[in-house]
């Protein structure tokens, strides 16, 4: 009974937060509500017995996306010269829905409710018992080299998806770079407390990432989660004023970015040559191979996320003068 109450409240909380986040008059409020929404999503994953997803959501959905959005909003405020302080920090005149007739508004709401009802009916009508692929996964788990079924699916059974996934991350960086590159911006002075905080926290983040990576073989965790936590450490460092040296921005950075993708490609070619089968690991070596892949992927994911944050938050040259004028 209490569980029901909890789940119902969580479900309504999610819907309500989403509604307010999407329709509040103030963009900053919208982002804070969205961060809160991410927190509740992680609770939902926990309730659905998906701790791996909860970890990913905690690291990415609630943490990094929030930081990205906040940083982007701050830059947006600086660019469009909006009033940045006070009660309604980011009022957006165009945030209100365009004035449509009551009729069309009503029609839209009717249409949307009908689609929710349709989807609900479709979900309701699904066969009440389906195990999906859990049996197949369980049957082959011993041959996969890891004990955590989610890691087994991600890195072995459907490792090809993960390979393409690494390319998606790389593509995002390329796309962001092609928009205007990675010009550095003189930073505002960093408060001493931030510096100390980041100095204390960074090792903890690294430790947590290593733990998640290691434990991912047999318990919830793995490359994506570890990479996001490590990437968050990078974001924290960037926020507290740390900038990689120019020398590091060249090939070491590029190497780190492509490590995961490159490892997958090399392994793919190797398995194609030796086993005549793409991405087939020999059973005896599977565990070690997965750990190696995951470690490199963790580095790549972390660097990618940190770079994406850096590009969004410190953006482009033309806009950097603001801090210096003071």
């Amino acid at each position: 009974m209490l569980q029901w109450a909890f789940d119902t409240m969580l479900g309504f909380g999610l819907l309500w937060l989403a509604w307010r986040a999407l329709n509040s008059s103030d963009l900053f409020k919208a982002i804070v509500l969205f961060i809160a929404f991410g927190l509740l999503m992680a609770l939902a994953w926990v309730r659905l017995n998906a701790p791996d997803v909860a970890l990913a959501e905690a690291a990415i959905g609630a943490g990094l996306t929030g930081a990205l959005l906040l940083a982007a909003l701050a830059r947006l405020g600086a660019m469009t010269d909006q009033n940045v302080s006070g009660a309604s920090a980011y009022p957006v005149p165009s945030a209100q829905p365009p004035a449509g007739s009551h009729f069309s508004r009503g029609l839209l709401i009717l249409l949307l409710s009908a689609s929710v009802a349709g989807m609900a009916y479709a979900i309701w009508s699904l066969p009440s018992y389906a195990t999906g692929l859990s049996m197949d996964v369980a049957a082959h788990l011993d041959d996969s080299g890891v004990g955590n079924p989610v890691t087994a699916v991600l890195l072995n059974f459907r490792g090809y998806d993960t390979m393409l996934e690494m390319m998606v991350l790389l593509l995002a960086v390329l796309g962001v770079w092609s928009l205007g590159g990675l010009q550095q911006q003189p930073e505002k002075p960093v408060a001493a407390v931030l510096e100390t905080l980041s100095r204390f926290l960074t090792p903890v983040f690294i430790l947590a990432a290593a733990y998640l990576l290691w434990v991912g073989a047999d318990a919830p965790g793995g490359a994506f989660q570890a990479g996001s936590v490590l990437g968050a450490a990078g974001v924290l460092l960037l926020l507290s004023g740390w900038r990689p040296r120019v020398r590091l921005m060249q090939w070491p950075l590029r190497l780190a970015l492509t490590a995961g993708a490159g490892a997958f490609i090399l392994l793919g070619l190797l398995t194609l040559l030796l086993e005549k089968q793409f991405l087939t690991y020999p059973v005896a070596q599977a565990g070690r191979m997965i750990l190696l892949l995951e470690s490199l992927a963790t580095v790549s994911i972390a660097v990618t996320l940190a770079i994406l944050f850096l590009s969004v938050s410190s953006g482009h040259k033309e806009k950097s003068g603001k801090g210096e004028k003071k």
């Binding site: 209490l2 109450a5 909890f6 409240m9 969580l10 909380g13 937060l17 509040s24 900053f28 409020k29 804070v32 961060i35 809160a36 927190l39 992680a42 609770l43 926990v46 701790p51 909860a54 970890l55 905690a58 690291a59 609630a62 943490g63 990094l64 929030g66 930081a67 906040l70 940083a71 909003l73 701050a74 405020g77 600086a78 009033n83 940045v84 302080s85 006070g86 009660a87 920090a89 505002k188 960093v190 408060a191 931030l194 905080l197 903890v204 983040f205 947590a208 733990y211 998640l212 434990v215 318990a219 919830p220 965790g221 936590v229 968050a232 924290l236 926020l239 507290s240 938050s313 003071k326």
Partner: protein, 93 residues
Amino acid sequence: MQTLYFALALFLLLNLCAGMWRVLRGPTTADRMLSAQLFGTTVVAILLLLAQASDSPALRDVALVFALLAAVTAVAFVQRVWPEDKESERDRG
């Protein structure tokens, strides 16, 4: 015992609604951000309770990641949004 944990979790979830009110009301950006941080803390507490209730230690890892990542959004706020705030106040003053 399980019931107790769930009752507590439910209570904390209700607490979130109180925090929600602060997010919606404001009046300053810091109020909103702090209540979001409170959100994070409460969620960590709920996670720990659920970990006890459902006897799955993995949830403690989730709570750990949450606690760590809360620092990132807080710092992002302080470093990106808040200083601008003070500066523009100084400009006007």
